[in-house]
């Protein structure tokens, strides 16, 4: 008999695990830098503050609006030659919180993307500030790890369309606001 029918109401409680706030940290920022730009030997933090006009222009073209003027960007070089940019960004959907790192080449083409942190939450909503606080303000190189909850779940996860939209938003930001001379 290789078909098991399980009535959900009769499964012992010990086998039912809540996924209230399932969070995992995959990589910290330093690990992501090394993976996305393995040959680089300089990461220069860039202060890029967008003007109101730039934000408006970005929001006209981006699939999702930009809700902060300050971005985490590093200019990446190898032996003084610019390889591109390393950007940290996050996306907050209805149930998912994702912080990701993306490597762009000098022309804004995507080199690679890594998810740094992922949290699926069906309980209380977390604001962007609270989400960022546990990560950014803990010293970017800290050993802070989320890793709560269960892994190895079969059955559809949430779609990555919000993440894809956030990536499109970043590419729009690059087009509007990255000026190689200024950076």
């Amino acid at each position: 008999m290789n078909i098991k029918n399980l009535n959900l109401l009769l499964i012992p409680a010990a086998f039912i695990v809540p996924i209230k706030a399932n969070a995992i940290e995959y990589l910290n920022i330093e690990q992501a830098k090394k993976i996305i730009f393995p040959g680089a030997n300089e990461f220069e933090k860039i202060e890029l503050r967008l003007s109101k006009q730039q934000i408006e222009e970005i929001n006209e073209q981006s699939p999702i609006p930009l809700d902060e003027a300050e971005l985490l960007i590093w200019k990446v070089s190898k032996d003084k030659t610019c390889l591109g940019y390393f950007v940290i960004n996050d996306v907050i959907g209805k149930h998912e919180y994702i912080t990701f790192a993306i490597g762009l080449d000098r022309n804004g083409a995507i080199l690679s993307l890594e998810i740094l942190q992922y949290r699926e939450d069906h309980g209380q909503e977390v604001s962007r500030e609270e989400w960022r606080k546990q990560f950014v303000n803990k010293n970017l190189n800290s050993d802070f790890k989320l890793d709560r909850g269960i892994t190895n779940i079969s059955g559809a996860t949430l779609s990555c369309k919000h993440l894809i939209a956030a990536i499109q938003r970043l590419l729009t930001i690059h087009k509007v606001a990255f000026n190689n001379d200024a950076l």
């Binding site: 290789n2 499964i11 039912i16 809540p18 995992i24 090394k34 998810i115 059955g155 949430l158 990555c160």
Partner: protein, 263 residues
């Protein structure tokens, strides 16, 4: 030994790849290579990317012979075996198009496909599972003894240590059911978890029964455990559509078992 796990968006979902290793650089290099395998498979099988090999088949005239990649050739052979051993319930035809696997295309020559009749195929029902299998092959080939890949719920684990497997509850997306612990196996699950949720639903019409062309609208989840994620992926659709006695026979053909969660 530490656990190294990374995630990327691919195949329209989140893919997690993990291995146990004592060397971070070796682990991350191998994980990157496994992601590249999945990315390459996505490019060749995608129905949505115009330049994909699948679209080359779909746009070919009758009597064309195409040279195709190892991946595509292999997945077509697996699909053909599934077609035969599932009494033609598993079919890679796109939506309601008719596709006779035994006559419309010919796969007798390695890495070649002969189009006998113009076809429209879609490997979405097996592609994710196949990509997981190939990614795991890459990890094992790199020498890791324990690890796994989870592609949006289609998963394969391998190794010398048991790993726990859960299935998301079909009634409450914030709950999961612990099913087993195992060393090596694959699991795939079909259900309508998020289909009515506008923030997650793709434009997928859902699972269609090829014999009566109706959309399946069950309120349960079906998980298939087998040695291959491609088989598990494909059989979730098949088992949903047939009566138990035929399902048992098909599952036996592939050394698979089904776990149905229902209310």
């Amino acid at each position: 030994m530490m656990l190294f796990k990374r995630a990327k968006p691919l195949l329209g979902t989140f893919i997690e790849i993990w291995v146990k290793s004592s060397n971070e650089d070796h682990a991350n290099t191998a994980i990157s290579e496994a992601f590249n395998v999945i990315k390459n498979i996505e490019a060749c099988l995608s129905f949505h990317q115009e330049s994909s090999e699948v679209n080359a088949i779909n746009n070919s005239y009758k009597n064309t012979i195409l040279t195709i990649s190892n991946y595509l050739y292999e997945i077509l052979l697996i699909s053909k075996e599934l077609y035969i051993k599932s009494n033609k319930i598993f079919n890679i035809s796109f939506r309601n198009n008719d596709f006779d696997f035994l006559n419309d295309i010919d796969l007798t020559e390695e890495n070649k496909i002969k189009i006998n009749k113009e076809v429209k195929i879609d490997l979405g029902g097996i592609g994710k599972g196949f990509a997981v299998d190939k990614g795991v092959e890459k990890l094992i080939g790199s020498g890791f003894q324990t690890g796994g890949i989870n592609a949006g719920g289609d998963m394969k684990i391998f190794g010398k240590e048991q790993q726990a497997l859960y299935i998301r509850s079909p009634l409450a997306q914030n709950k999961a059911i612990k099913i087993k612990e195992d060393y090596n196996c694959a699991i795939a699950t079909s259900a309508n978890y998020f289909r009515n949720n506008s923030h997650t639903s793709p434009k997928d019409p859902g699972i269609i029964n090829p014999t009566n062309k109706q959309i399946w609208d069950g309120n349960r989840s079906i998980s298939i455990i087998s040695p291959s994620c491609a088989i598990s992926d494909a059989l979730t659709k098949v088992v949903a559509m047939v009566e138990n006695s035929l399902a048992e026979k098909i599952l036996n053909n592939f050394k698979a078992e089904a776990i149905i969660l229902e209310h």
